[in-house]
């Protein structure tokens, strides 16, 4: 009975994405990055700071009708490294992705250097090597400038 009292019941979704084991407090930022707000037409379940066996506390997000793009997975990996993304189809987990900061990223963030060629009108996209994951440091492959955690937090 006690166990049931502490259990959070959120209904399964038919099609969509479940992001589990999110570092506590990051769920709202995830929705923001995915562009999900009050106008999103389907069910979104959000759990913040719920008990977790592995992490003591975690956030969980369930989004009906949403499948993440590659680019969105990359973005989320910076916000919630270690979280798991489950793509659900017909109530079943079709694909499981462990969010991990990659060694290299393209396109989704702009170089902070206004004089970098990736910020001018050229047939190229922004491109960064991740030279450190903790603390997070990205290096632009064009101008060699580095972007650190404190700068990135507002950009991701």
């Amino acid at each position: 009975m006690n166990e049931d009292k502490n259990k959070l019941i959120v209904r399964k979704i038919e099609n969509g994405t479940v992001i589990d084991r999110i570092p506590p407090g990051k769920a709202l930022r995830i929705l923001e990055v995915l562009g999900i707000d009050a106008n999103y037409p389907y069910t979104v379940a959000l759990a913040i700071r719920v008990l977790s066996k592995k992490m003591s506390l975690k956030d969980v997000v369930k989004i009906k009708g949403k499948e993440l793009t590659e680019n969105e997975v990359h973005k989320l990996s910076f916000i919630a490294p270690g979280a798991s993304v489950n793509i659900i189809q017909n109530f079943e987990v079709q694909r499981k992705i462990q969010l991990e900061i990659p060694d290299h990223v393209e396109e989704f963030i702009k170089c902070l250097n206004p004089n970098c060629v990736s910020n001018s009108h050229e047939p190229i996209t922004s491109s960064f090597d991740i030279i450190s994951k903790k603390p997070l440091i990205l290096r632009c492959i064009y101008c060699d400038r580095v972007m650190e955690d404190k700068y990135l937090s507002g950009k991701l």
Binding site: N115, C116, S118, H121, E122, I141, Y142, V146
Partner: protein, 305 residues
């Protein structure tokens, strides 16, 4: 040997640098024997930012090799003012010249060259990022004056934040063994984080100080750069620091006899005219060496024997 482009010293091996210096040295000894080497070849000099020494010494280098030059020295007279991309400029250039030197305020254009240029391209300075040929002539001058670059102690002084020659010089020094570096600047003009990380990756040890007088007795080379007035938000800061970052005759009392003073030029007041006559002053020789080094670079990158 097929050399592609030169936009950063980081990608140049010590062996290649030494080859270039050996060739520059042979050219310096007998320039006339190289007078026909680039006959029929064209160097394009594209200067989207002002330049005196770099452009003139590259042009002089190509003319001394018997080649021809074309180009411009202001972004205003090029189609970039109409919004043309650098990629398109490079694509076009492939058909107009055999080799090109380019100076641009935009940083990271080496990667554009890699993708769109089929002729060798050499940076004549990119924004505040790098100035690799300046660093090569600096290292050539050190090698010539001191007989080595390994095992030296160098003080690098002035604007280490915005001066594009500084990262290139440091990346070049990092290729040599047992080089000790003193970085001498006001804290606000210290090297950028990305340069610092690169030095750490390459194992070049450096120490930081605000006063050249504290370290002058240790130095084999004192490399001075200009404090750029336009970089200071408060002009009074510039006026205050200007004096502290000026070399006076009396500062040199403790210097080693063999120490040399270098400066990429132009200088303003950091090296007063009265120092020009001293044995330490090698900055005009350094500027002259630019021609030999750039001749060697043109030959190497064109693959001319």
């Amino acid at each position: 040997m097929n050399l592609e482009h030169l936009f950063t010293i980081r990608r140049m091996s010590k062996n290649l640098m030494e080859d270039i210096f050996d060739l520059a040295s042979s050219i310096e000894e007998k320039p006339d024997s190289f007078a026909e080497k680039c006959k029929g070849k064209i160097l394009a000099a594209l200067f989207f930012e002002p330049s005196t020494r770099t452009r003139l010494s590259f042009e002089s280098a190509m003319l001394r090799l018997g080649g021809q030059i074309l180009g411009f020295s202001s972004a205003k007279v090029s189609s970039s003012s109409k919004g043309e991309s650098i990629a398109d400029t490079f694509r076009m250039l492939n058909h107009y010249a055999h080799i090109a030197v380019i100076r641009h305020y935009i940083e990271g254009i080496g990667e554009i060259a890699k993708e769109f240029a089929t002729i060798p391209m050499i940076s004549g300075g990119t924004g505040t990022q790098e100035h690799p040929t300046q660093a090569l002539l600096d290292l050539y001058t050190i090698r010539k004056e001191l007989g080595k670059v390994d095992d030296i102690t160098i003080g690098i002084m002035g604007d280490l934040l915005y001066g594009r020659t500084i990262p290139s010089l440091l990346f070049g020094l990092a290729k040599y063994d047992n080089v000790k570096v003193h970085l001498i600047s006001p804290p606000a003009l210290h090297i950028r984080k990305n340069v610092k990380l690169r030095l750490e990756e390459n194992g070049l040890a450096f120490r930081v100080t605000e006063n050249h007088k504290e370290v002058i007795d240790e130095l084999d080379v004192l490399y001075v750069t200009r404090l750029q007035k336009e970089r200071f938000p408060d002009p009074t800061d510039y006026e205050r620091l200007k004096g502290a970052y000026q070399i006076r005759k009396s500062d040199l009392r403790k210097a080693k006899d063999s120490m040399i003073i270098l400066h990429p030029l132009p200088r303003v007041s950091e090296i007063p005219f009265e120092l020009d006559e001293l044995k330490y002053a090698k900055y005009f020789d350094q500027a002259k060496n630019g021609v030999w080094v750039r001749m060697a670079l043109i030959l190497k990158y064109l693959g001319v024997d």
